[in-house]
Symmetry: C2
Subunit: 370 residues, 2 copies
């Protein structure tokens, strides 16, 4: 796998798989195919339908709602863009027409069974009774695990911005700030560095540090607490997922101790990330490293793929065994809870030929605010 962008890689892969057309409909797989996030989908206007149809050798077609037509013509990697009126036309009928025009309706057409709404699928199925529909999910899982050159560069850029934003926010903050103020300091730093935006972020202090994915509130940051901070920024749809635990004031001996154990577990994991490593064995290593330090992992995976989705294949867990491969991008994240306090460290890596390249590295002293 050595393609410069996802459309080239898609075409090569479906040719190899004997798929006659690959249809993307979900926000993330569309962005993957065309190279940018469709604004309507970023805004959650989910009733607007979009479809990108990619064929192994022939032309590719993008179908969008009229208000997105101009931007699609300017920005989409697929150059043949069609539009439909969302009030008078059926996008499913138009998609069937496009598949007919491309001559693939007697072949294998992969659609996103884990995304395409039931009604659309049933309609498409009725329109094209001779077509053999197959599930696109395993195809996209495979494609998206291995990042093309363009994707690695986008992930490096946004990950670097977020790593620095954690340091900047801890330096700027003061005890007594609210969680929201802390979140704003993160956002400001991401923006000052030219980051496109944040989907959301976790700022969970004190008793809230055991909650997962919890947005900042008006709760004040009190001396002696820790804050669990996780930042979900994006650049052209590509995500960051980098977490830090920050002490409010000087860390207590208890906090230093747990942090040091978590950093050791993190290092042990990072040393073992390389092509050929088994995700199930990495999970076992993770659990063993926790147990050796008298801790328990809070979440049921040690890490996960990262790209256009915050969580994607491969997961480092007991549930499925995959082998790591060059050009995968992973977030590795030891999380634990001790005596009602949550601790989290999470960094991103690119699997290289012999090991991994760290996009970020949060080991060393615990961040603190004074």
């Amino acid at each position: 796998m050595n393609y410069s962008n996802p459309l080239e890689w898609q075409k090569a892969y479906i040719r190899e798989q004997g798929v006659d057309a690959l249809v993307s409909t979900s926000p993330d797989n569309l962005a993957y195919t065309i190279g940018y996030v469709m604004p309507s989908l970023q805004l959650g206007v989910r009733k607007r339908r979009f479809a990108a149809v990619v064929t192994p050798d022939g032309p590719d077609v993008l179908l969008v709602v009229t208000p997105e037509f101009k931007q699609a013509q300017a920005d989409s990697r697929i150059r043949d863009v069609r539009e439909y009126n969302e009030f008078t036309e059926s996008p499913t009928t138009l998609l069937a027409d496009i598949l007919r025009e491309l001559g693939v309706t007697r072949g294998r057409v992969a659609v996103e069974m884990d995304h395409m709404p039931a009604r659309d699928y049933l309609d498409l199925f009725r329109e094209l009774p001779d077509t053999r529909f197959v599930d696109a999910e395993p195809i996209f899982d495979r494609l998206r695990m291995l990042k093309t050159e363009e994707e690695r560069e986008r992930l490096r850029r946004i990950g670097g911005i977020v790593h620095r934003a954690h340091i900047a926010a801890a330096a700027a903050a003061r005890p007594g700030w609210t969680e929201m103020q802390y979140g704003n300091a993160i956002r400001d730093s991401v923006r000052e560095q030219g980051g496109e935006g944040l989907n959301n972020l976790v700022v969970a202090s004190g008793y809230r540090s055991t909650w997962s994915n919890s947005a900042p509130t008006q709760k004040a940051l009190e001396e002696g607490e820790v804050i669990k901070v996780d930042v979900f920024a994006y650049d052209n749809g590509y995500q960051s997922d980098i977490a830090r635990t920050v002490a409010v004031g000087e860390p207590t001996p208890f906090q230093r101790d747990i942090w040091a154990r978590l950093v050791d577990i993190h290092s042990a994991m990072l040393e073992h990330v390389r092509p050929g490593a088994s995700t199930r064995e990495l999970w076992k290593l993770f659990v063993d490293e926790f147990a050796a330090r008298d801790l328990t992992p809070t979440i049921r995976f040690a890490g996960h793929g990262l790209g256009l989705s915050l969580h994607e294949e491969p997961y480092i867990s007991t549930y499925r065994d995959s082998r790591l491969e060059e050009n995968m991008v992973l977030a590795i994240e030891p999380v634990t809870q001790v005596d009602g306090v949550g601790f989290h460290i999470e960094d991103e890596v690119i699997v290289t030929a012999n090991g991994c390249e760290l996009i970020s590295d949060g080991r060393g002293e615990m961040l603190r605010i004074r």
Copy 2:
């Protein structure tokens, strides 16, 4: 319709409709039912499934993925929360179990056919062969058109914040700023006023002012241009959709003229918003008012419902005729393009017993930056 929150209204309405259970799975309908936006869904982790099951008289159940369990217990309006392991358990099987437990599997169960993924629907259908599945879309369209007290208050609050943010950003900006800097000024003001966040915003200047829903770029704001600015902020999932056209420097006679015509069209529309008004007649009025001023509307509706979705029923368009009712919330938005320049004004109203309450009002002088 006079309910304090959407769960009460849901239960009353499905009782009246003879539906035995209403299942929400989409991010917006889940937020509607439980009262907050599930963090995983806000982050676009679409492979995590959630379901809220509401019955007319009996208990209601919420099914969430394990990492969301604690927050759901704390924040969900539905108090009976169940969790599942996303790697080992099938949420569809668990949803079928819940429907069995509630004793509704021989009745009418409404599911979101326009959202539930094809695979989930086919699995559920196989699990419950005796169940009569009906489409929840028209039910939710009806429910969500009429805003409960809690919803009106949330929409008033975020709309007021955004109205003031437009004024603050125009006052702070200078010619030569980039579109991104302008967008940051909007974001800063929303945050300073305690707004939860922005999904995105449109800042489209010069030739870009004819694009729709286009995020700010590094393009500089040049004297003599106009900027089309539209702000999509949110509070507990409830959206804002308020647009302004801003002159860079003193507006030219051309810009003043088009703006004045657009404001007149806007006023004519606002005068006619009241219970009983026909959306198709309002659209006709809109087109006539444009034509009387020698302009053409750019988009195919004059306005739309607003709530947990940026665009929802009722649309003010030619495509469907609805009657306005008390407690609807609408965004009214004249948009036009003249000689390659786009102009937009958009304000939000709540339909009252006799007319409408303006959440925002952008009429009067065009905003300008100097």
